[in-house]
Symmetry: C2
């Protein structure tokens, strides 16, 4: 069993970006600039945004955090996005979701210029991905593709079973893995809550992507010997022995599944760190389109 170590792979990507950014700086060229917008003070959102800002610092990007009060008007947020769209120094705009209830996530996402949509949630970004046109792929699926690439996993002709059909992970993974790209070119099956015999499908899989958000759903009896398992789940489970009061659990029962796998992602330290590396890559690519 080999570990698809997201922490290591993400670090390698960030190290490379750091060199590239230093090079841009030396040449007097524009440095990537990411703006994060945070409305209100949801604890998890604070943590995520802080991690993104920290990653920008690590690789040498400029970053700006714009904070709004919980009760800020949608109009004000939309006006700010409009300004950022028109500011040539800004390469990437991300709005930390979820937004307060009085602001429509969709309306805000749709207001971002697709050429600065480094979170890849704009319909144009999604449509371009489906059509195989260069675009920003959202952080989790793009991070998984970068992880497979980092470990030079040969996916061509393999049978990938995706468990979950969410817009954020399952759906884009099914598209990316079946595209005529490398990684890609898998035969892909999408399972979901209406699939009656998920176990049978999983047992056929050369690659399993578990993205349904149920802790330890994928058990050893569902996994073929030698399979590659990507665990996208990340659920906080109470654990009084930890200082934080919780530990993170994935959608895969790691301890019993791992011995059967050729490759597997741990939780934490698998897909998680890759999402931030993917966001950095998108911001860098956005900047390079202008450089």
């Amino acid at each position: 069993m080999n570990l698809l170590d997201g922490k290591k792979a993400a670090q390698a990507i960030k190290d490379e970006l750091k060199i590239d950014v230093a090079q841009l700086s030396t040449e007097g060229k524009k440095i990537p600039h990411l703006v994060a917008i945070l409305v209100g003070n949801n604890g998890a959102s604070e943590t995520y945004v802080a991690a993104k800002v920290k990653a920008c610092e690590e690789v040498g990007f400029k970053s700006t955090l714009i904070r709004f009060d919980e009760d800020e008007s949608a109009m004000k947020v939309l006006d700010t996005i409009e300004e950022l769209n028109n500011d040539p120094d800004i390469d990437g705009i991300l709005v930390q979701l979820p937004l307060p209830k009085h602001i429509s996530d969709d309306e805000v996402i749709n207001a971002i210029d697709p050429d600065k949509d480094v979170d890849g949630f704009h319909p144009v970004s999604v449509g371009r991905m489906v059509q195989g046109v260069p675009t920003f792929v959202s952080a989790t699926p793009y991070g998984i593709m970068l992880l497979l690439k980092h470990y030079k996993i040969d996916t061509k002709g393999k049978h990938a079973v995706i468990v979950g059909r969410s817009n954020i992970v399952g759906r884009p993974m099914s598209i990316l893995l079946s595209n005529n790209t490398n990684p890609g070119n898998c035969t892909v099956t999408v399972c979901h809550s209406k699939t009656e015999n998920i176990k049978e499908y999983c047992l056929q899989a050369d690659i399993i992507v578990a993205a349904l958000g149920k802790t330890e759903f994928i058990t050893a009896d569902m996994v073929k010997e030698g399979a590659i398992v990507i665990d996208v789940g990340i659920t906080r489970v109470s654990d009084t022995s930890k200082k934080s009061g919780f530990k993170l659990k994935g959608d895969v029962a790691f301890d019993t599944v791992a011995p059967k796998c050729s490759w597997i992602t741990p939780v934490p330290g698998g897909v998680g760190p890759m999402t931030i590396a993917a966001l950095m890559m998108n911001t860098y690519r956005s900047c390079m389109m202008k450089n």
Copy 2:
């Protein structure tokens, strides 16, 4: 074996639309108006556009055919689309593809207002479909969904195997059939040129969608007893006994496959007629968003 008769289903849809349009007219409301743009005089394109214009007449829509010479400039076509985008009387704009080589298909499609993109090829239309937001789904996949609906086929929990991953058919079908909708909620597998054992996947299928463009690729030994088979292939094969000099063949070996099926589409008279009905439905829906 029952026939998924696209000719009958399309006629039923058009008959209903005709009544709805007459009603709009009686109420003094706006009538749907479709504009087709044809550049050059490709024989097949002429035939397709003529069929679309005829369908508009049948259901009582207004239709306008704009013709350009083969060597017309891209700029002129784009300017025309801009005018149509701004004309409140126009509900749908379709550009018959392929365009002459000096004009970019993508640039022209991207110029159409997504709210008038009744062909559903704009990235915004595709992205919205993936995200499950109401949108215009392109004519062939939407036509297939309408056909399944017309015959009240219960697809929930069924295993659908899509053979082909094209942007026009395979990819959107895989998304639509796995969405949480009715028809939909299938477990979906996408096979393509890099799939090594297509037969094994097909033998598991409750529903096969054949959309690879190889005549009679799906043979009886690949189909499970009781399966539902949708044949999207339509290839002209030379036939001197016909006045036209050709006959139409699908991707399914109908004569031997049909006896095993619970439902199957014929070629011609299956998916083909549904595409035009789907285009009419999109144009009607676009008009109703304004009415």
